[in-house]
Symmetry: C2
Subunit: 160 residues, 2 copies
């Protein structure tokens, strides 16, 4: 398994915030309950997201968290990279440390890691919270008005 609970919980939490976007702050307890995340743990995760500028907080009674930007301007990559760090399969495909491996120019496995990295980023860079919300709406009730470009949905059953 690739991701830790940080990334998984974090994306769930951000999605939950996206659902309530524009309707005031959402208390941590609500996020934790709805997405079934240990509240004390989520506290830590959302602190990271806050410091990264993805969410902002409102203190005091009736406070909570809200998205800092519009859901269409927050990508899955923003969330996952913030919480998990680089999703590179190996050190040598990180920008930070390009000289960690000794014979990088001859190491052919490096090109494998690069291709995996690019492939992952194709997915997570190209998907925003708004895309997730749209998918969710479409699944929950498939009537409604909106007829816009079907960009990436491929009608796979989401079970149940």
């Amino acid at each position: 398994m690739i991701l830790s609970t940080k990334g998984r919980y974090g994306l769930k939490a951000m999605f939950e915030l996206g659902l309530h976007h524009g309707t005031g702050p959402v208390p941590l307890k609500v996020i934790a309950e709805k997405q079934r995340i240990p509240e004390n743990y989520l506290e830590q995760l959302i602190a990271i997201l806050r410091k990264a500028g993805l969410v902002r907080s409102v203190r005091g009674a009736q406070g909570g968290y809200m998205l800092m930007k519009q859901p269409e301007n927050i990508t899955v990559a923003d969330v996952l990279l913030t919480l998990e760090g680089p999703l590179a399969p190996s050190e040598c495909v990180l920008e930070s440390e390009s000289s960690s491996c000794d014979n990088a120019e001859k190491c052919i496995t490096r090109t494998v890691w690069e291709k995996i990295l690019i492939s992952i980023h194709d997915v997570i860079d190209g998907m925003t919270l708004q895309d997730m919300i749209d998918d969710h709406q479409k699944i929950n009730h498939t009537e409604e008005n909106d007829q816009q470009e079907n960009q990436n949905v491929k009608e796979q059953e989401m079970m149940l």
Copy 2:
């Protein structure tokens, strides 16, 4: 970082075996030295690969390891999945346990993990050891002589 050293060392080792394919068994010590892998550790890894039917061993003096199949019939996925287990970003996209998550109908993050999984498999299923060997030959021919300071940062930009 996604992969552990198991997968990284393992793919290096398999690549090394691919280079020597058809020329008799390669001792563990040679693989370890050429790919700079702790020999005692590689011992464990190659045992896994042997049990998975990817390599076979020749005991005794002048013994060593060799690929069980042709390099073009061994994919990167074969190696990585053997050593790392499923590369799924989350439990819920494993065939083994599809009902592990309780409210899968509301969970839109699952589709994200599915897309990442598919994307990774597009890469690793479609690449064989022979592909890696071919790439290696090509690189050695083009920059045969000198060891230049290469900036691979350019390739990072491609992933957008």
